[in-house]
Symmetry: D2
Subunit: 245 residues, 4 copies
């Protein structure tokens, strides 16, 4: 079982009754409980804690970080965002949820702004699996519906994903690459689109299954040594004509 | 633990003393024993058995198939090669070893001839990990040496791999993409270059580690339903103007 | 300007009045005329000609081959399909249209069956550009509508494309990866979904723009030497200890 | 013909006689002259100019920017690096040369530190083409030698390239992914390893051919509209049950 940290800016839940009803202790607590039930060791962190809840060393033992943010991406400290990105490169998994597409760690790691189109119209979203051999789809049907969703539409300005897992169909005519896998260094990144705060998206079984699967998929592997800086090799493994180390 | 089948054309070992000394019971038995020690349930199949040892149903319970062939690729029955390719698409892993680059299943699944340059000169090969976050590199150093190798050189006429794990350096001046990951349908394919029959390549610890890792990596995942034929959907999930299913 | 061959099985147009009205001289002639107007040197070939219109040497001077087939994929001679695949690997572009997803050359080159779901319900298809920097999108809007389309739905059992250019939205609730780029050897392959024979799809300006763009994109590049067989290199560029070529 | 800007930090040439002998007017001028001879419209910019020679608007008309830096990556203004990255996303090509792997624009666009190993031992580098159908290889042989090179070795901590064009072999036993293609937004990025300032690398014909080819490849395409911010779509193209825009 993995060590999981769920980060949340934790603003909507304290300012909007509908969100508070859905997630009385915050989205972070709701998701952490869900993953604890799956057997993981979980903790949470929020924006208003010192160093946004992620001081130096806080992520040393985290296998996978889940990230939910929306209103206050800019209030995340630059040093915290860098710390997250560095840990991902070293091997920590990162699962970026819904409006987290605009979060600092995600944009830093992708090198792209991750813009998109959007609409809040309580419309139907139908997620289609396009990569049925991907472990993030374990136990899912070929497609499933989120009955009330905020729409996100293409073009989604991200690098072409390493693997595209889900494509969403929206009632209003749009499509979206809703499940995107990336690797940066030793770390795995999964962006998962659904999760609007005013609809009970994380209460839905298929969505919970994706969160569990994504956490498993993003967990670190051992791999081989990963360099974190440039390094001279003055003593070559093979002879070089005329060179004395 | 996985269910493993090791396939071998099993010719060199019966015709060449040097190979027989290295692999008295055949390369297939040697590798099967190695993977059995790692806890897997293993079996073997060879070219001269009926239907090349892979009759209908033989692979139904195989999680990962390893394939070693060289002299007699053309003698593999067309229906057997198709059977292997079909099982890969359904989810069986395939680890293609050394001269298996020209095997029928590999070429069928890639859609490419997989040609290369070669030389038998007992030269040094140095394998460098270029993807240290890949599970096939678990426990490996940044690079390691095969002291006596047959050279394979670029251009290697395969599709660009989904992930490139190893690049080989050869004493005579060539390089090669020696560890290539592909996916076809639900199945994972790993091509691993080292393994020349007249050198004790599979006796080497790092090589054995790669075989163990590759077997783990190529093992099937559950995923979501995988279609094996075209299918009409006359009754759409959403209303279509003027259409009555 | 490129040298273009348009291949068509040419059956629907001679058996179905609606198709004959749309394409009196066949889909191949219609598309060839369109590309001739764009300045290309065009010719056509059909299933009922000797060697399916593509005898040895016929494709030597073809830069890009467009392929339309549906009812009679199995009647294409095996040797002709191999010839096409070989020419693609050597550098010829291949644009596979609509029901050509099941054509022999496409399946051979991909190593996958290219299955999908389908429905003929005169429904709306909306193609969204997901890669606005791709030359196949030159001059297109962010999305456009095919008013009456046959539906193709996911999962589409092909290798993950090198670049995904279009995703289709369908009225009935499906999505599809409608513009997929692949490379095999030196050749470029583009699969383009729209094109059902009973609707005036190729009469539509945006579709014609895609055909023109795809032809330009798939045209051969010079590149560096491409090997078409394995080749020994007995005389290495660098000295090998103890080896005399 | 394209509009080209060559950027150089321009320090080595003014502090080191050997470099000054090779490039009396700076590497930027040498490369700009080379590309002017190929018919391009060229200009240059250097670190010590106001805003590092790239004030707002300076890149508006640039099709491709080439970047050479080594000692003073940190002195490039943050706003200038952002300006370059933004222009790349909008479609400007970027060719990053040699020690530019650590430049701010490259790291920002990749989201990775681009670390590597290195050695200055006047050793032989042999560049092998692994993608002979790529236009950056036009007119090149299967491999070619840089007689005296600084070594860069794996692991190179970058995202897996979209296309890998060259792999280098080094006399001392290392390999390197020396020609890496990326896309960010509408812009094309090519990293090209050779180019150490104390060896006459850019005087070599094959290297010059790569620079010409890379400039052509990285030139902007028209494509379709590219969004530079999130955008609401309150008025959907398709009806949504119960929703009034």
């Amino acid at each position: 079982m993995a060590s999981i940290t769920v980060w949340n800016e934790y603003i909507h839940e304290r300012e909007n009754d509908r969100v508070a009803d859905l997630y009385p202790d915050g989205i972070h607590t709701y998701i952490a409980d869900l993953l604890a039930e799956a057997g993981h060791d979980t903790s949470t962190a929020t924006l208003d804690e010192p160093e946004n809840g992620l001081p130096p060393g806080a992520l040393e033992d985290t296998d996978v970080l889940l990230w939910w943010g929306h209103l206050a991406h800019d209030e995340v400290e630059e040093s915290v965002a860098e710390r997250v990105a560095t840990r991902v490169r070293e091997g920590m998994g990162l699962v970026v949820l819904h409006s987290g597409h605009h979060s600092k760690p995600f944009r830093k790691l992708l090198g792209m702004p991750a813009d998109l189109t959007y609409r809040e119209a309580e419309e139907r979203e139908r997620l289609h699996v396009v990569d049925p051999g991907h472990p993030i789809t374990d136990g899912l049907p070929e497609s499933f519906v989120v009955p009330e969703a905020e729409m996100y539409g293409e073009p989604f300005t991200v690098p072409e994903p390493d693997r595209l897992v889900f494509i969403s169909w929206f009632e209003g005519g749009e499509v979206f690459r809703s499940g995107c896998c990336y690797r940066r260094g030793k770390g795995r990144i999964f962006y998962f689109r659904p999760g609007h705060e005013t609809y009970p998206v994380y209460h839905q079984e298929e969505i919970q299954q994706v969160l569990r699967n994504a956490t498993d998929w993003a967990s670190p592997v051992a791999g081989s040594p990963y360099p974190t800086e440039c390094r001279p090799v003055d003593d070559p493994a093979e002879d070089i004509d005329g060179y004395e180390p």
